[in-house]
Every structure is written in structure tokens, then in C-alpha cells.
């Protein structure tokens, strides 16, 4: 029995000491999980130079301390303590010895997982999810893109340009303004196309809706998208400011407006915007829009772009493999198509998907981000019953105020108070002159109720001079057109984009009603709460009002664009296709996304930036026999080259790699093991020379053989355990030019001798 104990001690001593070196390379999350601040059983020691070798030998023989590695240049030794000695005890011994210059624990250095001071950072579950409730909904911890870990490496760069092709951006927003791209080649307001790019005075992008240089956002969407890409990070100066942070704290957002205030944008303008982005240096294009038929021209514009083009997959809950969605479904190699996940890493209920047509998913429900600051510039709810400042005219001009029904106050405007309209009407009610000379992003909303017969139509017209009138496109309950008829049995909201009248000092609006002479008449229309809003540049504290929660693949898409910006900040030399590959190969594969996306994964900024695959999960080990343990795990990575399996023999031991498996394998059978022995395992995936973090550790114990055959006994255990150790030691010696090599060889010889002696004695009796 005593001899067995000696053997075990010897084995464990040698097994744990040298092999461990190979397990020490960086970025391991293992230590983090243990919650320790230093590695147990290890020290870093500097002996006084004059006595170094003598002192080392003394500690080796007196305290059974072994040297793991020598850092010759700084004269420091990395030592392993005997099992019964704690780090604290060892420090006491070392520090009281005059031959020791200093000794310190082998402190674990892990990422500070940088978090910004932004007021609403805890709401940004997509960046950092602790399972916290967001807008009343709780989630699952770590169902996020690991932004704080990524920010340890980079928080972005002002030389990376992301074009947000959308409804415009509130470029004065205090959480965005410093991150808005400015065209350095253009002199503001000189009326000259200084940089010769075809656009005059385009200092901060372009508004393709109104064909002018002011891409301010009257519609919320583009501002929200821009905030997720790159709201300024860590910029809180007090409780009132610094609401959110983008994925990229620092970036330049090129504002290209092509969606109007009615949520329509044309393919022609989308093409122009993509070409502008490409011609003016955008590295990434964010397209949080889509729908409509396939366009060869749009695809050609994307194909011709050197930028990474990030496209929303759409919000219809459809399979894009069957019902293609454009532009996300184009086969252009530089497109990343993005679906949305919820706070539990499941596909959002509204999100489109597609095993071959949608690449990745990103957070897209309950996303808090920036919205524009708007102010009411002009309004009339007819509450005072006075429209003397309005004017009316036309054939059968019966316009007036009525108390029949109203949305607010007691009155509304109508084409014929208290009566059906008459045949052959063609009349209008016109606002007083409205000065929009210093307004930007002007937008009209009003409320409409009533009915009219087929062929009798209601419309709204605008004029910059009171003489020439243009019929405005209206959006009412989702439908968009210029002329309206039908029935609205309650007040419905109508919207018109007045952006083309920005800057006009003599703007007029008129409501017009026309009926034919078919003998069919109806009640006509009630108009109430006419409001013109414009962009506001005066942001008042607290600034909470300039943030809002939105859902959508539109919100998922800028998470990907923001990650692409971080990747380029970290390595400006990456091409669009390299950035795409890094994003795809860094995803975490999730059961809730399996089979629905090219990668079946949700993006992970930390892995993509480190260029490592996601670690395997759910590792489990089962002893299949006294000499075999079967391992299974979940493949959580996309596009990995394979998996590396590591094993150790006791809790304090050191891992060594025992096998490599092919890509997409999720099982391994470890054979030739010793009976009645506990083995510990961990697995990581790899891509080329880049390894993932390790899976969680697991273990299994081999049973004793069921029948008493074989050459059992203590020596069998020793040799069985030893044979694999011999192999690993040989590898280790090859890999590490260690000054321990001789020591190891000596140890091996000693062990073999001991074993031999024991064996002989046992069988002599």
C-alpha cells in the first residue's frame, strides 16, 4: 500500500508538471469561470542573480517545487508548488528567504470587459445581455454579441465610414453628431461642386428624395439605425446625457436619404445612393430596407461596390429561399443578409430567414436607439372655430368649420358642414402663408374621417408661391397615393413629406375635394389636427426623449454593420470579403436558429475580431468501458476546420491535447485509458492556426473491469496511465525547448524503475 502511494505521488508529480506548459496560451476563459485571481499551485519567482541555480536547487529539493519555465531574460522562474502547499504558504516561505528577490502569484489577467458609461447601456441587451428586463421583457444571459469583450480590443475608428442608406439621420443628435461623416472635399454653402463628385455642397451626404444636400430624418428610422451602428460611446457627462452607445463607439456615418417620410424609396434613388457611398469612400453600406421586385440594375450597383453591403432580411416571417427578398436575396458576394434574434437567442417572430439566402442573425427586438428631435412648427386643430386666416375657393366652395365630429377640441374642417357634398364640386381650403425658410425635414400630419363615393376624391396640395400647386403623396393607414376616396368611420392619420418645401418662405397647403356628376354623393370629409413638424436642433435635458425602442431586421442589420466597422478599425487592411468571412465564421450557432440561416448563428463581435470560431458547448463525457470514455459536444461554430480535444488526469493537473477531429464532428472516443481513473476533458474548435476558447470542462471515471481478468494491480494503472503520458511528453519535449527536458527523462526512468521493482516484488511472493 505504501508503495502504491509513492507511485501515485510520483505519477501525479510528473504528469502535472511539465505537460502543463502547453495549456497556458492566452485568451482562455477557463480561469474566469473559476473566479480566482491567480493560478492555484503556481508562483513567479526571481532569485537573486548570484545564487540563482543554488537557490532553485534548494527549493526543488527542500520544498519539492518544480520549475515550469524559465524566463531567462528577466531571470524569473515560473514554478509549480507541491500539491499540499497553498500559494499563500509558498509566498511566506519564499519571501522570508534571503536568496529570493521577489515572489508573486501567477495573477490571471483577463479582459476588463469594457463597459461604457452611457445612461441606457443596461437597456442595450443586444450588446450585453445579463437576462435583464428591457422595456419590461427579460432575456437570457449572454444572448448578445459580446460587445464589452470586443471593446477590450477596439472601440472603433474615425477612419471607418459606414453609409446609412435610409430615411436620413438626425445629424445634430448629441449622441451622433461627432460620428457623422463630413465630406472633407466640399466647402459648405458655396454653391460649387468642389470635389467634382456630381453633388453640390454635399458636406454630410445627400438627400436623394428631395435631391438636396440636407439628409435630415423626418421619419425616425434612419436615425435609429445610425445609433445602433455608431452612437457615440462612453460620452455621458451626467445623468442627462450620453444615452446609448453604438456597436462602434467611434465611426463616421455617411447619411444618404432615399426613403421619404411616407416610408417609400425608389430603386433608382437606392442605386444612386449606393453609387454615392462607393464613390465617396464608404467601407460599409447599411441597407435596413427592401421589398419590391428584383432589379437587375440594383444588383449591378451592389456588385460594382467595393463596400461590404449589409442587408436586412425582411420582417414578413417568410423563408427567403422560397420568396426572395431584395436586396438581401441577391447572390452578390459582398452582401451579408441579416435576420433578427430576440432576447433569448431565438429567431424573432417577424424575421425572415433562409438556409441559403440569409447569412447571420443579430439582435433585433426591443432595440433602444436614437430618434430625431422634432418640433411642431405650425398647427391648427380648429379648436377656436375660427378659420378666418384660411382661405377657401373653387366650384361649389362649401368649406367650413363643423362640430359634427372632431379628433381634438370641438371642431374640425370640412368640405361641407352638416351636409352631404354636392355633385360637381371642385373646391379647397388653404392655409395662411407658412414660412419654412429656416426649416429642414418638414413633414405634414393630419387626421381624416368621412366618406365619399367612387370617382369623388380628396387630396392635399402644396405650393411654394400660392399659385402653382402640386398634389402631395399621402400615406393613410399604410396605403400611399395622391387621391383618396372610400370610408373612414373614425379619424385616421395621414402623412405627407414636405421636404421639397424646406427653405420656402411662402409655403401654402390646401385640402381639396372634387366630385363628379354621377348623382352619387356622400358625407364628405372631416380634417382635424393639422400639424407641420420640422427638425429641431435644440436638445433639452434630460435627453431621454431622443431615444426609442424599435423592433425589426432593420435593427439587427446595423449590429452587423457596427461589427464590420470594429473589424476594420482593428485591421484596416481587411477587404469586404474578408470582413464578411470574419463575421460569418465568428458566429455562435444557436439551436433556435438551426437550419434557418447559412451559418445558423448569431453574430459575436468578440470572436470575429479575434478571428476565432465559437467554442463548442454542452461537452459531456461518459465512461464506455474501463479503458474508454466517449465524449460528445455541440458544434457551436460555423466554418471551423475541426476540434481539438484536451485531457488531464486530476483537478490540479494540466491539460494536454489528445486528439484533433474533423469539422462538424461532435463526438470522440478516447481509448487506452486506465481503469478506475477520473479523466477531465475540454474541447475547442479551430480555424487554421486560430483556436476558439475552450468548452466548459467535464469529467468521467473509468470503472474497474467487470470480470477479474487481465494483469491488474497497481503497476497496470501506472503503466497504462504512463503510456499516454510518454507520448505526450515526447510531444511536449519536441514542442518546447525547455530546460526541463532532462529532468523529465530522468523522471520517466525513475518511474519505470519503480514500477519494475514493484512488479517483481509482487509476483515473487
Amino acid at each position: 500500500m505504501k508503495k502504491l502511494a509513492i507511485i501515485v505521488v510520483v505519477i501525479s508529480f510528473f504528469l502535472t508538471a511539465p505537460v502543463g506548459l502547453s495549456g497556458q496560451n492566452g485568451h482562455s476563459k477557463r480561469s474566469k469561470a473559476h473566479g480566482a485571481t491567480y493560478v492555484p499551485g503556481e508562483l513567479l519567482v526571481k532569485y537573486k542573480d548570484s545564487v540563482r541555480s543554488v537557490a532553485a536547487e534548494y527549493f526543488r529539493s527542500r520544498w519539492r517545487v518544480s520549475t515550469l519555465r524559465s524566463f531567462r531574460r528577466i531571470g524569473v522562474q515560473h514554478v509549480k508548488l507541491p500539491r499540499d502547499m497553498t500559494v499563500e504558504e509558498a509566498l511566506e516561505i519564499y519571501r522570508s528567504d534571503p536568496d529570493v528577490e521577489y515572489a508573486e502569484p501567477n495573477y490571471l489577467l483577463y479582459g476588463t470587459a469594457r463597459t461604457p458609461n452611457d445612461k441606457f447601456f443596461s437597456e442595450l441587451w443586444g450588446l450585453h445581455n445579463t437576462g435583464q428586463p428591457v422595456d419590461g421583457i427579460t432575456g437570457t444571459a449572454d444572448a448578445d454579441i459580446d460587445a464589452p469583450e470586443a471593446w477590450d480590443i477596439t472601440t472603433g475608428s474615425g477612419s471607418v465610414v459606414v453609409a446609412v442608406i435610409d430615411s436620413g439621420v438626425d445629424y445634430n443628435h448629441p449622441d451622433l453628431s461627432a460620428n457623422v461623416w463630413i465630406n472633407a472635399g466640399e466647402t459648405a454653402g458655396n454653391g460649387i461642386d468642389d470635389d467634382g463628385n456630381g453633388y453640390v455642397d454635399d458636406v454630410r451626404g445627400w438627400d436623394f428624395v428631395d435631391d438636396d444636400n440636407d439628409p435630415v430624418d423626418p421619419f425616425d428610422h434612419g436615425t435609429h439605425v445610425a445609433g445602433t451602428v455608431g452612437a457615440i460611446g462612453n460620452n455621458s457627462t451626467g445623468p442627462d446625457t450620453g444615452g446609448v452607445t453604438g456597436v462602434s463607439w467611434t465611426v463616421k456615418i455617411m447619411v444618404l436619404r432615399f426613403i421619404n417620410a411616407l416610408n417609400t424609396g425608389t430603386t433608382a434613388n437606392a442605386i444612386l445612393a449606393i453609387q454615392y457611398a462607393n464613390a465617396n469612400g464608404a467601407h460599409i453600406i447599411n441597407n435596413s430596407w427592401g421589398g419590391g421586385g428584383p432589379s437587375v440594375a440594383l444588383k449591378a450597383a451592389i456588385d460594382a461596390s467595393s463596400a461590404l453591403v449589409v442587408c436586412a432580411a425582411g420582417n414578413s416571417g417568410f423563408d427567403n429561399d422560397i420568396f426572395p427578398h431584395y436586396p438581401s436575396s441577391y447572390t452578390s458576394s459582398n452582401i451579408i443578409a441579416v435576420a433578427a434574434t430576440d432576447q433569448d437567442d431565438n429567431l424573432a417572430s417577424f424575421s425572415n430567414y433562409g438556409l441559403t439566402s440569409v447569412d447571420v442573425a443579430a439582435p433585433g427586438t426591443n432595440i433602444l436607439s436614437t430618434i430625431p428631435n422634432r418640433q411642431t412648427f405650425w398647427s391648427d386643430n380648429f379648436g377656436d372655430g375660427d378659420i378666418s386666416d384660411w382661405s377657401t375657393g373653387g366650384t361649389n366652395d362649401t368649406w367650413g368649420i363643423t362640430t359634427e365630429s372632431s379628433r381634438s377640441g370641438t371642431n374640425s374642417l370640412t368640405d361641407f358642414p352638416n351636409s352631404d357634398y354636392v355633385d360637381g364640386t371642385n373646391s379647397w381650403a388653404q392655409t395662411p402663408e407658412i414660412d419654412l425658410s429656416s426649416s429642414t425635414g418638414s413633414k405634414l400630419t393630419f387626421w381624416l374621417k368621412g366618406n365619399s363615393q367612387s370617382g369623388d376624391v380628396f387630396s392635399v396640395q402644396g405650393s411654394a408661391d400660392g399659385t402653382n400647386w402640386t398634389t402631395l403623396d399621402l400615406k393613410i393607414t399604410g396605403l400611399i397615393a395622391q387621391f383618396w376616396s372610400g370610408t373612414a368611420s373614425f379619424f385616421v392619420e395621414a402623412t405627407a413629406d414636405l421636404g421639397s418645401y424646406d427653405g420656402s418662405s411662402t409655403f401654402y397647403l390646401r385640402f381639396r375635394f372634387q366630385s363628379n356628376s354621377d348623382g352619387n354623393v356622400g358625407a364628405g370629409w372631416l380634417v382635424d389636427d393639422v400639424v407641420i413638424t420640422v427638425a429641431d436642433t435644440n436638445y433639452t435635458n434630460p435627453q431621454d426623449q431622443y431615444y426609442e425602442y424599435f423592433p425589426g431586421t432593420s435593427m439587427a442589420t446595423p449590429h452587423v454593420s457596427g461589427l464590420a466597422a470594429l473589424l476594420l478599425a482593428d485591421d484596416p487592411g481587411l477587404s469586404a470579403s474578408q470582413v464578411k468571412e470574419r463575421i460569418l465564421k465568428g458566429v455562435e450557432v444557436k439551436p433556435g436558429l438551426a437550419g434557418m440561416l447559412v451559418t445558423s448563428g448569431r453574430i459575436n463581435a468578440y470572436y470575429s475580431i479575434r478571428n476565432v470560431p465559437a467554442p463548442p458547448s454542452s461537452l459531456s463525457a461518459t465512461a464506455a468501458s474501463s479503458s474508454r470514455i466517449n465524449l460528445t459536444w455541440s458544434d457551436s461554430s460555423y466554418g471551423e476546420d475541426g476540434f481539438k480535444i484536451e485531457r488531464k488526469m486530476d483537478v490540479g493537473g494540466i491539460y494536454a491535447q489528445v486528439a484533433t477531429t474533423a469539422a462538424n464532428t461532435t463526438a470522440y472516443s478516447d481509448t487506452g485509458l486506465a481503469q478506475s481513473t477520473t479523466y477531465y476533458y475540454r474541447v475547442r474548435s479551430y480555424n487554421g492556426s486560430n483556436n476558439s476558447d475552450f468548452s466548459a470542462e467535464t469529467n468521467a471515471t473509468t470503472p474497474a473491469p467487470s470480470s477479474g481478468g487481465g494483469g491488474g494491480g497497481p503497476c497496470f494503472i501506472a503503466t497504462a496511465g504512463f503510456s499516454s503520458y510518454l507520448d505526450r511528453s515526447a510531444d511536449f519535449i519536441r514542442e518546447h525547448d525547455s530546460d526541463n527536458a532532462q529532468q523529465i527523462s530522468f523522471g520517466l526512468a525513475l518511474l519505470a524503475t519503480l514500477c519494475f521493482v514493484t512488479f517483481r516484488r509482487k509476483y515473487r511472493r
Binding site: 424609396g265 425608389t266 437606392a270 440594375a297 367612387s454 393613410i476 396605403l479 368611420s489 385616421v492
Partner: protein
């Protein structure tokens, strides 16, 4: 995969049903019932843009791409024949946004344009919306 199949079936069914609906609506309109658009069910507003359903593309506009080497003279001749006016050059070479001058439908103009061998492709100016 099973889930996807079910979803696909539902979607296809939905489309078939909505197509049928639209067909019915169109027939109702053709019947020239004077009160075709009225209160139905009371709750939902039934507003419609005059003249039919909202288009998924800009009415009266098309994108036209001519083949490389098409002369300006040929382009002008085709435009004249089909009654098109250039709104602007969208991208070089030869992609134009054009306006339909004679009130023809976008579909009809596209049919006519594809018959010219100089026209590489022509398509509606589809409307895109945010997600």
C-alpha cells in the same frame, strides 16, 4: 425542415387566398356598383387611393439599360417610338430613369421595350420600404 414546410404551405395558402380576394374585388369594381366602396364591418376604415390598389413601383417611371455601344441616336429613336423622356442618367454606362409620356402602363411599356435588341433590360422603378 418540417417546420419550414408547414410555414411554406401556410404562406402559399395565404397568397392564393389573397389573390382570390383581389380578383373578387376587381370584379366588384367592374360591376360598377355605385356603392362598391362603403362601410363593411363598420370598424375598419376602407380607404383606397382612387383608381385601384397602391402600386409596388413608381407609376409612370421605368429603369432602362441599353446595351454597350448603343448610340445616342438609337436611344433617342427608341424613346421617341415608345414615348419616353429621360429623367436622369442613373449610372454609367446606359442606365436611365425614364418617364412614360403617353399614359401607358409600366407593364405595357416594358413589353414594348424588351423587343428592342438594344435594350439590355428594362424594369419598373420598384418601391422599397424600411424594415
Amino acid at each position: 425542415m418540417r417546420r419550414a414546410n408547414t410555414l411554406q404551405m401556410i404562406v402559399i395558402l395565404f397568397i392564393i387566398i389573397s389573390c382570390a380576394d383581389r380578383h373578387q374585388e376587381a370584379q366588384e369594381k367592374k360591376a360598377s356598383h355605385p356603392r362598391a366602396i362603403g362601410i363593411q364591418g363598420g370598424e375598419q376604415p376602407k380607404l383606397s387611393p382612387e383608381g385601384g390598389e397602391t402600386k409596388s413601383y413608381v407609376p409612370g417611371e421605368i429603369l432602362v439599360k441599353f446595351r454597350d455601344g448603343t448610340t445616342d441616336q438609337t436611344k433617342k429613336a427608341i424613346q421617341k417610338e415608345v414615348h419616353l423622356e429621360t429623367i436622369r442618367l442613373i449610372s454609367k454606362p446606359n442606365l436611365y430613369l425614364m418617364k412614360i409620356l403617353d399614359g401607358s402602363s409600366v407593364e405595357r411599356v416594358l413589353e414594348r421595350l424588351v423587343k428592342f435588341k438594344e435594350v439590355k433590360y428594362a424594369e419598373p422603378n420598384y418601391i422599397r420600404t424600411i424594415h
